[in-house]
Amino acid sequence: MSGLLEWILFLSLSAVAVGMAASMLLTMSMYRAGLALMASFLALAGLFILLDADLLAAIQVMMNVGGMLVMVLFMVMMMMDPGGEMMWEMKRKMQLPGPGALSMRMPRGKPPGMAPEGEKATADHPQTYTCPMHPEVRQDRPGQCPRCGMDLIPIEAQQPAQSYMAEATTYTCPMHPEVRQQGPGICPKCGMDLRPLEETGPRAPQPHGDKGMGTHAMDHGLQGVAMARRSPHWHDQMMADMAMSTAQLPWALVLGAASALVLVVLMIRTGWPVSRAVPAEDATLAVGELLLSRYMIGFEGAAFLILAGIVGAVIFAKRERKPAPRKAAKPPAKVEVYICPMHPEVRRSEPGQCPICGMDLIPTEQRPGSSHPDHGGAP
């Protein structure tokens, strides 16, 4: 290809490679960071093509697409905020300048006002019980639904799990605490005016009032987050996530840029031996022929070994044990419910294994004479 085209391609591919690597550090979304790394390597593959190293380029693409994909998958699975939305919201609320990761600071200390997990019924939030089939049935204590006889389950008077940031004040109806909305209005059930919900801890921030950047604003941001989750373990997790943008990041960037500069200077100043040799036309073909003719037996052997390993693993694999055979003849007088001691929400009417952890299910006695077996309601 012509020299100019080659230069253009080289410069654009290099720009993509470096730019994507930089954006990997600067973005707050872990998913995007993984993709940026992938894109950077793909640009490198493009550079390999420019060097006529097609096979290397293809291998580069294959390895990195697969590898980065798995990395991204695990990040999405394990991390609290893989999309960076939480961080982005916080940054926006605090109106911090500058590109994403560079402007964040690690929050110091635990934000105040975080209640321990498990605090459910308080005077402000009476615990109401309802029937899963007839939601119009509500009462203050557990029991059975008068319509169908099913056990009542508690309604959690909590924010839905997805709302990280309590933006505006939450309004609720004094008669119906399960009714909540983000602005004032009237209760759809009884028509009473809604009142703001009293938060535990510092008052919720005004939507656009806060301009301060100190701990005050940080706490509000975190306060909203803290409303959704409440355990110290979660807090540690969140801090680990925010490590995407640590105080050390500018140092990392400076060091990286410095080393890159040193390498470039070395490259320009040092006399690298330039070879005029052009790779042979059919170099790959020659290598392929060699491999296929002389070393085919090696491939066959490797394939055979892998096959033997897989077959052996499959044949000797531990089969899932069938559930214990049902007792013959008469059914039990009481309806037995089997639960897993680690996961009480898993309930079965016959013995077996817990699908989550594999432990054997243990029986729990049910009240005799109940017409419906107890359902998986409260955890």
């Binding site: 007839h134 389950i153 959690e156 355990s231 929400e345 998986g376």
Partner: protein
Amino acid sequence: MIGKTEASGPGRVDGWLTRLAGYKRRYLAVDGGGGGRLLAGLSTMSGGLRRVFSPRHAELLLIFEPVSHKLAPSIVELYQAMPQPRRALGVGEPGPDRFPHADLVRLEDLLPGLERISDSPGGPRQIEQRMRTLPLRPDQVSSKPEFVETTIPVPGKQEREIATEPVVLSLGPIQSLTAGPLRLLLTCDGEQVVSAQTEAGYAARNVAYAMTQACGPEVARLASLLDPLAPIAGRIAYVQALEQLQRQEPDLVFRQQREAALALERAQNHVRWLIGFAELLADDRLTVAARQLDAPLVDASTAFWEPSPTEWIVPQGSPVLVRSGRHKDSLARLATEICALRSRLERNRVLALRTAGIGVLSVHLLRAAGVSGPTLYASERGRGDVLGRLLTRLDEAAADLRQVAASASTFRSVEGREAVWSAPSGKAEVTVAGPRGQIGLSLASHGEGPGQVTWRRPSTALLSLIPELLAGQKLADAEVIVASLDLAMAEADG
């Protein structure tokens, strides 16, 4: 629910593009409770319509009445999520007109430019026609009914090494697994369902109360609306209850004819269910086979009686002219085809991958929950898994059709008396074998009309089984299991 939009650019309404685009319309169906039959009929029409399952892919929103207040926010949300240009089509009489005692909404108040079409004559063909010619246009939704928030208990977070969190998936209330709206709240650990919860009540029409407020033949009409998919069963239940109160025993011939009507309805229901189930499994051959059974069955059933069962299922009977002889051969033939299909399915190993050993219900659990009908028979006769329920329903359908064909030769016109709609005081208890199980009716009358009406509905019992049944299943299996229960939410919610 799918999040709200931030769109760019309204839809264009150019001439030739519109004409070309109208050749194939994509619609999203919302079944408020009464649409199962018509939906199945629509799916057999090939060509101009395609059913989609995400509002973003749809141009038309097809809503089957009645729509309760509880369902309204979901419908508005779906409509808002649809891209412009769009249109909504309501099928059936407006809910508040038909059920004045229920908490229903008028669709015209909810959605702008809603077009209404009635749900009887012409059936699916007419609906399809209207859907293909309805002009689409950009519009804005003004009313925004508030959601009633539900919070469900999520399994407590445990301090594990790997801090993953379970996802709460809310399937519905508009989903294709049941005939009618039902919300399934599945707490999933990846693809595995940890716990399940149902939220019903979206199709509640308060039929029992409405029956106490009406009198005469109107009550029978309401009874037939309890389960729109099984109108004959409801009607027969009420009529038999009245006859019990009146201390009249109808003639043997009438009883046989009523049984035949019930059996035909049951068979129709099973085949309709099979269509939906095959579509869920995405098994094209089964879908095609089911559709090929459905159309002739519907035709034969409608033409079997003259006049239609709604006219002659009345207390103490009336002159009945029956044309059954002509169609009993086709019914017998259909029964044979169903049996052939059943044996093919039993041998189909790939179908067994998705259905065998999945969702096993034990007999004593079913009996304890008060379940009856094909679900119970499946557990009694065999595996009690999804495949067993599928095969049992086919068996039942074939048996019902054979029974009707056999007894059809004994039918004849009978002179009857005028229908007597009085309800002398007393109590009556009736059980009718419906498509999903035994439908029970308890009627207490003070002489004026039904004073207290209580229905025992088979779908309610099945609903109560769902949380236990789904816990520990894989997500894709959970959907198949719920579909295999053949729930009719209109019946379940009453």
